[in-house]
């Protein structure tokens, strides 16, 4: 139905609602599992939501300079893995040998959709105002110091520090 509004309809961009916060814990270092946190962080920032990412355990690799360009995707152990463009499952016995090819293919599919690689994606998250934090325990376990991490990581902090910083936030564990 067409109606003529007398007053202009102005979208409500909720600029005044500034208290929403999201905290995302990135604990996986597989290429495919690096993306969910980045995509959600990017979406949250685009909605004006304060966003913090905490990198821990294998997720730490996403911010380690020497590893962040080389995350891998393996079909091993992933029984939901299908042959590309098909409903047929990939036999698990073949999966362990296919990490290199699967990684290459996933990277291509992601690039074809205009989605950046992990380091570029983190650049974008930071440019949009996102905060990156590294896990103290992971840094100690892996013997990695601040100099080994992306320069825009704001600090190596304990789990308790992160909980304190993200008081009142909605929390996602990935």
């Amino acid at each position: 139905m067409t109606t003529t509004a007398t007053a202009p309809i102005i979208p409500n961009f909720d600029d005044t609602e500034t208290d929403r916060k999201i905290a995302i814990i990135c604990s996986k270092g597989n290429l495919d599992m690096a993306y969910p946190g980045l995509i959600l962080a990017n979406a949250a920032l685009g909605e004006g939501v304060e966003t913090h990412l905490f990198f821990t355990f294998w997720g730490f690799d996403m911010i380690v300079k020497s590893r962040m360009h080389d995350l891998q995707f393996s079909p091993a152990g992933n029984t939901a893995m299908h042959l590309p463009g098909s409903d047929r499952h990939l036999p698990q016995a073949l999966a362990p040998a296919m990490t290199g090819m699967a990684t290459k293919m996933l990277k291509k599919q992601i690039a074809d959709l205009g989605v950046p690689e992990v380091p570029d994606f983190l650049d974008q998250v930071v440019a949009a105002g996102g905060h990156l934090w590294a896990c103290r325990l992971s840094a100690d376990m892996m013997h990695i110091e601040e100099s080994g991490l992306r320069d825009d990581v704001e600090g190596i902090i304990s789990a308790a520090d992160f909980i304190e910083k993200t008081a009142g936030a909605q929390l996602l564990f990935i």
Partner: protein, 104 residues
């Protein structure tokens, strides 16, 4: 869909106020739309808006902030400065386009 009077003419909008007809838009209207959401258009804003219009005409969908960065040449950080908090929605609103549908 409602029709609303903006800048002295009838324009088609959706329930949120986003224009629904590509050709209803002109640069004079953009200034009015921007003013309604508290944005004063500068040359830097216009660069983004003109890119969005051209890109939509070519692609048939609204560019995301990522695309405005990589193809339009306006860094994400600058987009957030120009269109605070919700750049994707605000710039598409001013450009008379639908909200971007892409996730990234």
């Amino acid at each position: 869909m409602p029709i609303t009077m903006l800048n002295g003419k009838d324009v088609h909008v959706n329930d949120e106020g986003f224009l629904t007809e590509f050709d209803d838009w002109d640069e004079g209207l953009a200034a009015v739309l921007a003013e309604q959401i508290g944005i004063d258009l500068t040359d830097a804003h216009w660069k983004v808006i003109r890119f969005l219009r051209e890109d939509y005409r070519a692609q048939g969908e609204t560019a995301t902030t990522r695309r405005v960065h990589t193809v339009g040449g306006v860094p994400v950080k600058e987009q957030f400065a120009l269109f605070p908090k919700k750049p994707g929605k605000k710039m598409s609103y001013i450009a008379g386009l639908p909200k971007p549908h892409g996730c990234v």
